[in-house]
């Protein structure tokens, strides 16, 4: 076979595979959004769910998803940032750090059901947090930490060593160099990693079924004292998220419009994750432009 022909065949095959994948994705997204879109209106997005009658919304579940996401990021981001900085900037290359890296890799491939059951035993039962947003946030921290740490470590590693030398040669300490030169330069890429991980947290269900619970008690959106049980901010209340809600309706939902609610909720979930991804690209790009070229 001549090189020109074989190149053509290879090209065609690769285009075919890529096209096939895009097609599947487009079909999936299209189906979810088209079936769910008719449900989307302000009423659906803001009213509480109904267990037995039609016309329920996903208001509380939607709020729970965002609140849980916020709490999880509040817990996991500082830890991941510290771990990422240590691993990339300070850690010597020896067996201890190798063990740490391997542990992070294993942790990142842990099935989320296992993370959920672990969270159930530790946070719900042992620490007596009960089915609560806090238990869920801790479980999701375990779920999120390895990947976020990796992504921050990689963001830092992508910054050229000449930047570090530049800082040190000006008589700055290593800490000053890392926090004032390397971190700002890595910020766009770190932010992209955080937003992408937010998308994963937002869509996670299995780890939350056993930790944040499957019930969404009514919330009083006028009460913002986090110590009141009906306050949306109370971290100790059980909180069914959007993803858990979808799972639950489909497995044991008895409301007459279960299918429609499920479709609508799925569309909201998918659109949210899409928005996270687009946001990640947009903000990352804008920040990078702002740092590297003229305004």
């Amino acid at each position: 076979m001549n090189p020109k022909l074989s190149n053509k065949i290879a090209n065609g095959a690769l285009y075919g595979i890529a096209g096939f994948i895009v097609l599947i994705l487009a079909a999936l997204l299209g189906y979810i959004i088209i079936t769910g879109l008719p449900m989307l209106n302000w009423h659906f997005l803001t009213t509480p769910a109904r267990a037995f009658t039609a016309g329920g919304g996903i208001g509380i579940q939607l709020f729970n998803s965002f609140y849980l996401l916020l709490l999880t990021l509040l817990i996991s981001f500082p830890i991941a940032l510290g771990a990422g900085i240590y691993l990339n900037e300070y850690a010597p290359n020896n067996w201890v750090t190798n063990v740490v890296r391997t542990a992070i890799e294993i942790l990142s491939s842990l099935p989320s059901v296992v993370v959920g059951l672990f969270g159930f035993l530790i946070f719900v039962v042992q620490f007596d947090f009960g089915f609560s947003i806090l238990s869920g946030a801790f479980a999701l921290t375990f779920f999120n930490l390895p990947l976020l740490t990796r992504s921050i470590e990689e963001s830092l590693a992508a910054i050229s060593n000449t930047q570090r030398e530049g800082g040190l040669a000006l008589g700055l300490s290593k800490w000053e160099t890392v926090t004032r030169i390397i971190l700002p330069a890595a910020l766009p890429s770190i932010l992209t990693g955080v937003i992408l991980s937010a998308g994963r947290i937002f869509g996670e269900a299995a780890a939350l079924i056993f930790t944040a619970g499957q019930s969404a008690p009514a919330l009083d959106f006028t009460d913002w004292n986090p110590f009141n049980i009906s306050s949306p901010l109370n971290p100790m209340r059980p909180a069914e998220t959007l993803a858990v809600h979808i799972w639950k309706i489909n497995s044991e939902g008895i409301m007459p419009d279960a299918k429609a609610v499920s479709s609508g909720a799925s569309a909201v979930l998918v659109i949210s994750v899409l928005v996270f991804n687009i946001l990640a690209r947009f903000i990352g790009k804008r920040l990078y432009q702002k740092l590297t070229s003229a305004k």
Partner: protein, 275 residues
């Protein structure tokens, strides 16, 4: 009897000729090394490189790749601390700075460095210059403005950037970036400026501007420059050291190195026979 096959070539030439520039030329020594050796793990990259550097002079370090000249330069302000073992003394104005009790950060503010590849920070031109100053407590806007202007002028880049000081430094050309890095280094008013092949990533026009800059900086700073470009060494330096295989083989006035070297290898190198 046993005859060393290479001995015949070198019989008429000295093997090593490092001139004591203080004794011979009365140079005012600001920096010198004694017994300096640098090891990367088990590999000794620098065996014997003791030199003296005259105040307000430009000293060029030349030699083929892997000759240890960059290793030597980077040891002078202890940039090699994390990657190599540096043994021996580095005497800066008579004080050995190669000791653990020396404040290495303070020392590096006296002995600044500019690198092979321009490495401006991802900040504005203004912030690149003022960054280290601010970290050391200089906060008055008027003082900072003044330092920014004088150091950019000294680095001969003021006229090109004075209207966009708030522009990102990364938007500058390579040659401009390198002069900005020099401005950044001299903004903290060091005594000595170490330059590690600063022109190797620049085009001829930028290189020529850089050389003019260095010649003008000589009045206020002591400059030690590693270069692969022998014309450059000949053009700008007062003294030149030739390194080969981890040893400073010859050190003398630049004109002497390039016209009447005493060591055969130096002659071969500057004549372009190897390297």
């Amino acid at each position: 009897m046993f005859v060393n096959p290479t001995s015949q070539q070198t019989t008429t030439w000295l093997e090593r000729n490092v001139v004591d520039i203080k004794q011979k030329f009365g140079a005012n020594i600001i920096l010198e090394t004694k017994g300096l050796r640098v090891l990367y793990g088990d590999h000794e990259a620098l065996h014997e490189g003791d030199l003296q550097f005259g105040e307000h002079q430009i000293t060029a370090l030349i030699g083929p790749s892997g000759s240890g000249k960059s290793t030597y330069l980077r040891s002078l302000n202890r940039m090699n601390d994390d990657v190599a073992t540096v043994k021996g003394q580095i005497l800066y104005r008579g004080v050995d700075v190669n000791r653990s009790e020396i404040d290495v950060y303070e020392m590096r503010r006296r002995i600044g460095m500019v690198f092979q590849r321009p490495n401006p920070f991802a900040k504005s031109i203004y912030d690149n210059i003022t960054f280290a100053l601010k970290r050391r407590g200089v906060t008055k806007k008027a003082v900072l403005d003044e330092i920014v202007e004088t150091s950019l002028k000294q680095a001969a880049i003021w006229d090109e950037v004075k209207d966009d000081l708030n522009k990102s430094a990364l938007a500058l050309s390579g040659g401009q970036q390198q002069r900005l890095c020099i401005a950044r280094a001299i903004a903290i008013k060091p005594d000595i400026l170490l330059l590690d092949e600063p022109a190797s990533a620049l085009d001829p026009v930028s290189t020529s501007k850089l050389e003019d800059t260095l010649l003008r900086l000589k009045d206020n700073y002591t400059i030690i420059i590693v270069t692969h470009n022998m014309q450059q060494a000949a053009r700008i330096s007062d003294y030149t050291a030739f390194f080969n295989q981890g040893t400073a083989l010859e050190y003398d006035v630049t004109s002497k190195i390039f016209t009447r070297p005493k060591v055969a290898l130096t002659n071969n190198y500057v004549a372009g026979d190897f390297g």
